[in-house]
Amino acid sequence: MDVILQILYIIVPASLIAATPLMLTAMGGLFSERSGVVNIGLEGLMVMGAFGGIMGTLIFEGMGFGNLSPWMGIGFAIVIGAIFSLFHAVASISFRADQIVSGVALNFLALGLTVFIVREVFDRGQTDTISARIFRTNIPVLSDIPILGPMLFSRVYLTTYIALLIVVLVWYVVFKTPFGLRLRAVGEHPMAADTMGIKVLRMRYIGVMLSGAFAGAGGAVYAVTIAGNFAAGTIVGQGFMALAALIFGKWTPFGAMGAAIFFGFAMALSTSAQQLPGFQNIPQVYFLILPYVLTIFALAGFVGKAEPPKALNQPYTKGSR
């Protein structure tokens, strides 16, 4: 029993920590895809977010904000992410570019632009390391609960719990408010939404910019909690994994959250399986590919059919049939 608890004390916090950036980014993807715009560019938006988070933190540190600076850095990254997502929005909504191609270009552009700036500013491939990081903390009172305390509330990042609250908030906004209804209408049947007086293109712009803001936050959270600095290799695949979580979660906030935590679990297992009794003999590669294999299964309908929003990937032209 003690052994199992020891395993859980390692694996559960590690899963939640790995899942946090995925959760936030998947929420961003949800806004974009629910409005009918495919967002392959989540990866690039996360890169932008990680870059913005670190640069913002460094700037605010320099201005003497101390421990507040990583939080302000995340705020900075949210703004940067939203602005950067306009590339995708303008190309795929106004210019009717292929949404997938535009997303691919966004990923290229993010990596090129950020590393270019880093090289110009720091004269090398990575930024300085931030000194005011968001560190792991024990949550008072809750961390004293037996079993659950050490598992869920000790040595955690505050950002994880904020992300969980945001998931609830996103669910409320998307499914319980007029704005959410309009967003979903635009993604399911834009022409019907248009006849009801909803501004389709404007809703889609909002959807894509929200995806930029959330993915920016996701990338920044990863950068200021786990990475500590920014380089070309800071974000490698987390954006695509967030996209996978969104699909595996069938385009719903709680589904995506569950998928993100599960993927976080697989990631945590892949890195810490060597220390765990009973897991040493399983090759790491199985944990590494698990999220991707499961997503394919989910799409093929082996794990419940994942149905995308109906108007996904279709540019809207007013008056077209």
């Binding site: 570019a97 090129g112 590393v115 270019f116 110009e120 590669v285 590494l288 991707y292």
Partner: protein, 353 residues
């Protein structure tokens, strides 16, 4: 003039405009970051054609890009977007190197066998999303993205477990499976240029032949234009989708074989994607999915990536500028609607006068 605008000339004009805008934006970025664009671009050009070595390396770099571009274009002709070229290329690279290492045979058997093995591995990697698309209507884009990661992790794990020789890579392949060319290398001041370049050029012709000169190619293009009409005409749409993805994967896998058997002579543990496959999307898009266009676009992107080194050493511009230019070119080509619209406005106004 109007006929020219609506006809083939227009299709050539859009990529040219996109390239122009891409470079213009690159110049603006250089200005803002305190570099001299003229210096930067002249260093870039010198880095592509300045010395025979640079030119040889450019041709070496464009070889796999041609294959990945052909792979994307081939699927695109059937209305499919193959984002999985990256993964197909990785498994092709690994498999061809494995055959190059494990088998002893005379070159005339060994080399074609290794290249074919790479192509078959890529085809299998393309078959899966094709089958899932045909059988379960799963969108190929998501499946191929997932397959990319599976390819990278699985090949890395196989190399680490079974083939690790020194550091992060396998041993060198047997010389009977090598595409290395002493002649081409010597001609270009000992660059890594290899025979694969000519195979890539031949592959361009092959794709043109399959798509435009065979009955199957007609079917594939027909499915791409209009699925329902093709079905009504009695074509097996699903079989064509699977075939298209498999052939596309085979091109990508062969591209991986060029990297493995030609450029490096080994396979290594990849910390991240090679990006050759993703660049293929840019190549195919800029080349308008035509064989000639892909060849030229691969030269442009291969050259940009090669010249970036010179741009850094001589003009002090970070090589990532090239990635920015490539990304912007993709944006502009993909947004051809607005370019068309703008040009249409310009020409119609001229017509009024």
């Amino acid at each position: 003039m109007k006929n020219f605008m609506q006809g083939r000339g227009f299709n050539i004009l859009i990529p040219l405009i996109a390239i122009f805008f891409g470079f213009a934006a690159g110049a603006v970025i250089m200005l803002f970051s305190g570099n001299n664009p003229i210096e930067g671009y002249s260093a870039l050009i010198a880095g592509i054609i300045g010395e025979p070595y640079d030119f040889g390396e450019t041709l070496q770099r464009m070889t796999p890009l041609i294959f990945s571009g052909l792979a994307v274009a081939f699927a695109f002709r059937t209305g499919l977007l193959n984002i999985g070229v990256e993964g197909q290329l990785i498994v092709g690279w690994f498999t061809s190197v494995y055959v190059g290492l494990a088998i002893e045979a005379p070159m005339i058997i060994h080399l074609p066998l290794a290249i074919t093995a790479g192509a078959v591995a890529g085809a299998l990697w393309g078959f899966v999303p094709g089958y899932l698309k045909a059988r379960f209507q799963v969108h190929e884009v998501i499946v191929t993205i997932m397959m990319n990661y599976i390819a990278m992790h699985v090949t890395n794990s196989l190399i680490r477990t079974y083939l690790l020789d020194s550091g992060q890579r396998t041993g060198f392949i047997n010389s009977t499976a090598s595409l290395e060319s002493g002649f081409l290398s010597e001609l270009t001041q000992f660059s890594r240029l290899h025979w694969g370049f000519f195979i890539a050029a031949a592959a361009c012709v092959l794709m043109w032949f399959i798509l435009w000169k065979t009955k199957k190619g007609f079917e594939l293009r027909s499915v791409g234009y209009n699925k329902n009409a093709s079905l009504y005409a009695g074509m097996n749409v699903n079989a064509n989708i699977i075939l298209s993805m498999s052939v596309s994967g085979a091109f990508a896998g062969a591209g991986g074989a060029m990297v493995g058997l030609g450029t490096y002579q080994y396979a290594n543990i990849l910390p991240a994607f090679t990006n050759i496959g993703f660049d293929g999307i840019a190549v195919a898009l800029l080349g308008a999915s035509t064989s000639v266009g892909i060849f030229l676009a691969a030269f442009l992107f291969g050259g940009l990536q090669q010249g970036a080194n010179m741009m850094q050493s001589r003009a002090g511009v970070a090589p990532e500028l090239v990635e920015i230019i490539i990304a912007l070119i993709i944006f502009f080509v993909a947004s051809s609607y607005i370019i068309r619209w703008g040009l249409g406005r310009l020409t119609s106004r001229k017509g009024d006068k």
